[in-house]
C-alpha cells in the first residue's frame, strides 16, 4: 500500500481473513499479557461446580443425569463473562473507533472477535473438565474424543451468537444485565443439544443416537455465524 502524502489516494481494503486474523491475534496477545478473562472464567466455572455440588447431591446414578446439565450451565454462565469482556475492552479508550475507522470490513472484525471468544471458551471448557471429573469421580478417558467434539460445537454456537449480542448490548444501558437476558433464551437450543449429547456420551450410547443433536448444533453454528456476519455492520454502526 503506498498512499503518499502529496496525493490524496485510496489505499486498499485490508483482506478479510488478514484483518480477522489481526484482530484475533491482538485479543490473544492482550489476554496472554493479563490472563484476566481466562482466569475469571475458569474460576467461575469451578465455583459453579461447587455450588451445584451443594445444591444437589451428586454421586452415582444421579451424576449421569444431572452432571451434563451442571457442566453446561457452568460453561454458559462463564461465557457471559468472557463475552461481555469482548467489547468492554474495546470501549476503554474508545479502541472500537480505531477498529471501525480501519480499512477493514465490519464482518472481519466480527469474525476475529468470534474466533477469540470461541478459543477462550474452548480453553475454559478443557480446563474445567479435569476438575469436573475430579469432583464427581468420573473417569473420562473413554469419552474424551466425543466430548471434545461437543465442546467445540458448543463453544462455536455460543460465540457465534454471543459476539453479536455482546456488541449489541455494549450500546445499551444496563448492558451487564441485558446480555444474559438476551442470550439465554437465544442459546436454549445449544444448551439442550449440548446437554443431551453429553448425557448420551456419558451413557456410552452409539454416536448415531446423538447425531440429531449434533446436527442441530452444526446448523445453529453455521446459520448464526452467517447471520451475525451480515448483521454486525448494523449493530456497530452509529
Amino acid at each position: 500500500m503506498s498512499s503518499t502524502l502529496d496525493r490524496p489516494a485510496l489505499g486498499e481494503e485490508r483482506g478479510f481473513w488478514g484483518a480477522a486474523m489481526a484482530v484475533l491475534r491482538k485479543d490473544l496477545l492482550a489476554e496472554w499479557h493479563t490472563r484476566e478473562r481466562l482466569s475469571t472464567m475458569v474460576f467461575f466455572v469451578l465455583l459453579t461446580l461447587l455450588v451445584f455440588n451443594f445444591s444437589f447431591e451428586l454421586g452415582g446414578a444421579a451424576l449421569h443425569q444431572i452432571g451434563p446439565g451442571v457442566l453446561w450451565s457452568a460453561f454458559v454462565f462463564a461465557s457471559l463473562f468472557g463475552l461481555h469482556h469482548t467489547f468492554a475492552a474495546e470501549q476503554e479508550n474508545n479502541c472500537l473507533d480505531a477498529l471501525l475507522a480501519a480499512p477493514v470490513s465490519r464482518g472481519a472484525v466480527y469474525l476475529g472477535k468470534m474466533a477469540g471468544n470461541l478459543l477462550f471458551l474452548l480453553v475454559v471448557e478443557l480446563l474445567a473438565l479435569p476438575f469436573f471429573a475430579l469432583f464427581f469421580n468420573l473417569s473420562l478417558e473413554a469419552y474424551l474424543l466425543p466430548l471434545l467434539g461437543v465442546f467445540a460445537l458448543g463453544a462455536g454456537c455460543l460465540s457465534a451468537v454471543g459476539t453479536l449480542f455482546a456488541a449489541l448490548c455494549s450500546n445499551l444501558r444496563l448492558r451487564e444485565l441485558l446480555l444474559p437476558l438476551l442470550l439465554l433464551p437465544m442459546v436454549a437450543p445449544v444448551i439442550i443439544s449440548c446437554v443431551g449429547t453429553t448425557a448420551m456420551i456419558f451413557q456410552e450410547r452409539n454416536p448415531e443416537e446423538y447425531f440429531p443433536y449434533l446436527r442441530i448444533l452444526g446448523v445453529y453454528w453455521v446459520l448464526f455465524s452467517a447471520l451475525s456476519l451480515i448483521l454486525f455492520d448494523h449493530v456497530v454502526e452509529e
Binding site: S3, L5, P8, T34, N93, L99, A102, E237
Partner: protein, 235 residues
C-alpha cells in the same frame, strides 16, 4: 470530482432520532489545507469528524474522502488517520504491539521498519516494550499520533487532541502537526485550545447548532482575533 479535493460533504445531515447533530452541511476541502473546526459543545464537531472517519453514516447527503464514501467503502478509510482525546490504544499491550496491530490492520508493507521510524519520531524508542498503561498522558498522545499516522494517511482528523496535555506536550504536538502540514497532508482540527490552533490553521469553519455558520480562509492573526471571530459567530 476535483482530483485535488480531499474531502467533500454534500448536504449532509445526521439525525440521532431525538437530536439532530448536523443539518445541511456543505464543505469542500482541497489538499494541503489545515481546517480549524470550532463550535460550542453540541454543535456537531465530533459528529462531523466521525462521519469523515467512517465511524458513522449520514442520515442524508454524502460524505466523500478522496472520492469514496468512508462509511460504506473500507478502502476509503485507508486515507484517513484519527487522533482523538481518547487514545485509541490498548493499555495492556506495549507501544510496539499497539503499532504492530495497526500495521497489520492496515496491511502495511515492511511493518517493523515503519514501526521503528514511528517510535523514533515519537521519542518512545526506549519505552517501546512497556505497557501503554504505564505511560504518561503526553507519551500516550505521542504514541496515539504515531498510530494515527503510521499508514501515512492523506487526511488527518484531530478531535480535541490537546485535552489533558500540559504546556510542553501541547507545544510538542503542535510542532508535529506543523511538520505533517508541511509534508502536504490535509487536516481537520477540532479544539478549544485557540492558542495552539491559531498558528496551524489556514481555514476556519465554525459550526453553530449543526450548521455551518462561518467558512473562510484564515490568513493568520492573534489568538484574540480568532477568539472574537469565534464569539461573533456563536450566536
Amino acid at each position: 470530482m476535483n482530483p485535488d479535493e480531499v474531502l467533500c460533504l454534500e448536504q449532509v445531515e445526521k439525525d440521532f432520532g431525538n437530536f439532530t447533530a448536523l443539518a445541511q452541511v456543505n464543505l469542500r476541502v482541497s489538499r494541503g489545507t489545515f481546517v480549524l473546526l470550532l463550535g460550542a459543545n453540541g454543535a456537531g464537531k465530533s459528529t462531523l469528524l466521525r462521519l469523515l472517519a467512517g465511524l458513522s453514516k449520514p442520515t442524508r447527503g454524502r460524505v466523500l474522502v478522496a472520492g469514496a464514501e468512508p462509511n460504506y467503502t473500507p478502502a476509503a478509510r485507508s486515507a484517513v488517520g484519527l487522533l482523538s482525546h481518547s487514545t485509541l490504544l490498548y493499555d495492556d499491550l506495549s507501544a510496539r504491539e499497539n503499532l504492530r496491530f495497526t500495521a497489520r490492520l492496515y496491511g502495511l508493507a515492511a511493518p517493523e521498519k515503519r514501526i521503528d521510524q514511528a517510535l523514533d519520531a515519537a521519542g518512545l524508542g526506549e519505552r517501546q516494550h512497556h505497557r501503554v498503561r504505564t505511560f504518561s498522558r503526553g507519551m500516550k498522545q505521542r504514541l496515539a499520533l504515531a498510530r494515527a499516522t503510521l499508514h501515512r494517511p492523506s487526511l488527518l482528523l484531530f478531535d480535541e487532541p490537546y485535552t489533558g496535555l500540559d504546556q510542553r506536550a501541547s507545544a510538542a504536538l503542535s510542532q508535529q502537526l506543523i511538520q505533517l502540514k508541511e509534508r502536504g497532508s490535509t487536516s481537520v482540527l477540532v479544539t478549544h485550545n485557540l492558542e495552539e490552533a491559531v498558528h496551524l490553521a489556514d481555514r476556519l469553519v465554525i459550526l453553530r447548532r449543526g450548521r455551518v455558520g462561518y467558512d473562510a480562509p484564515w490568513s493568520g492573526g492573534s489568538t484574540a482575533e480568532l477568539g472574537s471571530l469565534y464569539e461573533q459567530h456563536l450566536g
